[in-house]
Symmetry: C2
Subunit: 204 residues, 2 copies
């Protein structure tokens, strides 16, 4: 149920139906927590449509299991068991990408990040998924490990109907410019202000 109002009709030559079904590039950015949470919440809707979901986590340690990962793996299992929802793949740079031969020992995060993007680019060109969550993808862009112009070129020209959701602080201006939907979560009040640390089930 959209809460916004359509305030103008663009002169892009598309019908409402064409615009309605336009694949989206979504960026969740800003300094506050909640970016990944919001992205995964959005992916739940795609799962329910029976869409193939591909999650690619660029920074977090493999050892650090998030609740969302377990929940999405469970939803992938539901799809395999019952046909309900869509298939789910979840890949993590921190664990060594699952498709990669080299593992663990070599600590070259820049190369790992570039390899992750190369695989995502291949999948986008092959229209492998309907929803891509590129979690914390803004950081390898910021650190120059992946070329933002290549990313924008692939995303803007991606074939078919593939939604791409990117999270992370300090999203590059080129990415913001290319995005259809940019969300920023603002802290109004947070328990860490009162000296509280993160807790299980809430922060992870």
């Amino acid at each position: 149920m959209p809460q916004g109002q359509v305030t103008s009709v663009p002169e892009d030559g598309l019908t409402t139906r064409q615009r309605r079904n336009r694949p989206l590039l979504v960026v969740h950015t800003g300094a506050m927590k909640g970016k990944s949470t919001a992205a995964f919440g959005m992916a739940l809707r795609g799962w329910n449509q029976g869409w193939s979901i591909g999650v690619f986590q660029f920074v977090k340690s493999a050892k650090w299991k998030v609740g969302e990962e377990e929940a999405f793996r469970a939803l992938g299992w539901v799809h395999e068991q019952t046909g309900e929802g869509g298939p789910v793949e979840w890949h993590k740079m921190g664990a060594g990408w699952s498709w990669s031969r080299k593992r663990g020992d070599e600590e070259d995060h820049a190369a790992d990040a570039a390899e992750g993007w190369a695989e995502i680019r291949r999948r986008i060109l092959a229209e492998q998924h309907r929803v891509y969550v590129l979690d914390e993808f803004t950081y390898p862009l910021k650190w120059g490990w992946i070329d933002v112009h290549d990313v924008v070129d692939v995303l803007v020209n991606r074939p078919g109907h593939q939604h791409v959701i990117i999270t992370g602080r300090d999203a590059a201006p080129e990415l913001i410019e290319a995005a259809d939907l940019v969300m920023e979560t603002t802290k109004v009040k947070h328990p860490m202000d009162a000296g509280q640390k993160g807790q299980r089930g809430i922060e992870w």
Copy 2:
């Protein structure tokens, strides 16, 4: 992985562990979409902890099926089948609350909302769930259908370790004051600005 920094230690007489495990009252408010999405993303983490999840939707029509509902019902099924994660209950005012005898015909939304809150209050006092999502709960408060002082009193004094997540625009000041964590999602850029309407898998 908490992204915030602890900037002060409160003089509340609690140990760090006590503060860490303090149950949270979370409010997702603001004019933009993404509030419910963020709340359900947070509930995924609770599910993964094996916690009992209770969702109570106060406004949306029963006919309007959200992807999150199907996904959480699937996760509840996973719990029943395998013991993984936690149990899930999903109740909707629009369908007539599932525990209620009266259904459909009588169109008294104010009474329905009050009945919903009465049941939630019973459950909180009985410590029935570990996570409550009160979706679009700010509206019946705003419209005077439910007394905000009663709500705040029950929430502030709730027993045990129950997290409560409330969504909706225009959260009452009393609720903001009582909350531990208040999140507001800000639009930076949205496709509806370009004349696009909501689409399946993204908006619902």
